[in-house]
């Protein structure tokens, strides 16, 4: 299996490691957040533990640790293993991104 790293091109999958579903967004709660502790715990619990675990196309995090050390977001089919797209995480290439965007 090969994964097309947006920076390196196609590479053997053994260069990559997998984290999982990229859809859940990490909630941020400041120490003085007005939300109730239960709400806060529920939100973080949801992020850390619950998964849609879809059979089909899924956005997920891969790390090109055996290559350019970029975190990547792949769209992949969990039934066929087909990669539909692979893009860089927002902070991979931030030197460029920052320039263009802000």
């Amino acid at each position: 299996m090969r994964i097309a790293c947006p920076f390196c091109g196609e590479r053997d999958s053994s260069e990559f490691s997998y984290l999982g579903d990229a859809s859940p967004k990490r909630p941020n709660f400041a120490v003085d957040s007005p939300n109730s502790p239960a709400e806060i715990e529920d939100a973080v619990f949801d992020y850390v533990y619950l998964r849609a675990n879809v059979a089909g196309d899924m956005r997920e995090y891969w790390y090109h640790g055996g290559g350019c050390r970029s975190w990547l977001i792949a769209e992949r089919n969990t039934v066929t293993h087909e990669f539909k797209s692979v893009t860089a995480a927002p902070g991979a290439g931030a030197a460029l991104a920052g320039q263009a965007g802000e």
Partner: protein, 417 residues
């Protein structure tokens, strides 16, 4: 028809024309007291125990393909109860005790073979971790022995003691551990449940749930029509999230592919189960002579029931690290199963937040050995609406409470368990 050497001899006289179906092929009824989704070992064992122990016989087991087509027929057939954490220890020992009497309980030879399960250690730290686990087992009345290298050399002289990258220093062995014939477990439970009147219904895929106004689950939609149910139990392993999504439920589970391999049949080489702790490799030899072996997950979410080369190579490298005499033995088949990897590596057997719907899932790659106990405790939960004493910690809300049962200490990262 009772199975024995006598019935076999008698049948031989009539050229085996007299044998009848091991289980019936019933059409689904309109309603059952309990519908179990999933005709694997766990689902069938649950049905058996519901009928046999809890007197609930109006039960159907719905299987989308042929029974045993999932992980029940894809695992490496190992049975053991060498766990180290409260919750797991007692449960898996209950399972081991049920294995030890399974043939007589079911009148079916499932070939339970207690040839020992050995975990090798390669460092002082690993030895210490095994010592902790082994002592936990002993305090729970489970057999365990810690072997040093000299003892190991006597028992398994063929291991690579002198030239291994990670020196083989000793091992933790559970002699009551071993293997069983996986398909026979499925067939044995199906036949035994069928005898009590349980309907084992194949080629019947669940496509949705029927719910009443209160939200309670009152039946299932299937490829063979709607089937009403007093209670519905899910025992669908790697497909748990798929089925749960039909009621918009997300679970603390990811589905991952685990590969397994078997070699050509060779004359006896390896007596029991050997697990290589510093690599990802475990092996046993089947009664037919094939080396049955496996290793780590492929590592990514998958419903494909097949794996890729890197893990296959990694597993064989592990084999050649500790037993380089298998170099000329040929790998004959590889396959994959979908593991319901939970967030702490331990199972979930509980009511769901939805009335009438019960969950048996999260078995990771350890579901086979749990089969009889899983059936028993899930049947208990379905019958009594309260957890069996040995499954009291396998609650769905344990993650929310922080009461994880994390044998490997890897946290909420299912592919590392």
């Amino acid at each position: 028809m009772n199975y024995s050497i006598f019935s076999l001899l008698k049948a031989a006289l009539s050229n085996h024309q007299g044998w009848t179906r091991a289980w019936r092929d019933p059409a689904p009824k309109k309603h059952y007291d309990v519908v179990i989704i999933g005709g694997g070992g766990h689902g069938l064992a649950t049905a058996y125990f519901l009928a046999h122990k809890y007197g609930i016989r109006n039960v159907a087991v719905l299987e989308k393909g042929w029974i045993g087509s999932g992980n029940a027929g894809r695992n490496t057939t190992i049975i053991r109860s060498n766990y180290g954490l409260p919750g797991n220890t007692g449960f898996y020992e209950l399972s081991m005790q049920l294995w030890e009497r399974m043939e007589q309980d079911l009148n079916y030879n499932t070939m339970v073979s207690q040839r020992g399960v050995l975990n090798l250690y390669h460092s002082d730290a690993q030895r210490d971790a095994f010592a902790r686990r082994g002592n936990t087992m002993r305090l729970n009345g489970i057999d365990a022995e810690l072997l040093d290298q000299a003892q190991l050399r006597r028992e398994l002289p063929f291991l690579n003691y002198d030239n291994a990258r990670f020196p083989i220093m000793g091992g933790l062995i559970q002699r009551r551990g071993g293997t069983a014939r996986h398909d026979a477990v499925v067939w044995g439970y199906a036949r035994a449940a069928d005898k009590y009147g349980v309907d084992v219904i194949q080629n019947c895929e669940v496509t949705g749930f029927v719910r009443d106004n209160s939200g309670r689950v009152t039946g299932v939609e299937t490829s063979r029509g709607t089937i009403g149910a007093g209670k519905v139990g899910m025992a669908v392993a790697g497909n748990s999230s798929r089925v749960a999504s039909m009621v918009d439920m997300r679970l603390p589970i990811e589905s991952h592919v685990l590969q397994a391999f078997v070699s050509e049949a060779i004359k006896p080489l390896i007596p029991g189960v050997v697990t290589f702790g510093a690599g990802h490799f475990y092996v046993s030899q089947s009664d037919k002579g094939g080396l049955v072996f496996g290793g780590d997950l492929d590592g990514y979410n998958s419903y494909a029931q097949r794996g890729n080369m890197p893990v296959m190579e990694d597993v064989c490298e592990g084999g050649m690290a500790i037993m380089p005499m298998i170099g000329r033995v040929r790998m004959l088949r590889q396959w994959g199963g979908i593991m319901d990897m939970s967030m702490d590596g331990s199972p979930i057997i509980d009511k769901t937040p939805i009335d009438g719907l019960y969950l048996n899932a999260g078995w990771c790659y350890g579901g086979f050995k749990a089969t009889p106990a899983s059936g028993l405790v899930f049947a208990h939960l379905l019958a009594r609406d309260e957890p069996h004493a040995e499954a009291a910690r396998f609650r769905l809300d344990r993650f929310r409470r922080g009461a994880m049962i994390d044998e490997k200490g890897q946290g909420a990262q299912p592919n590392l368990h």
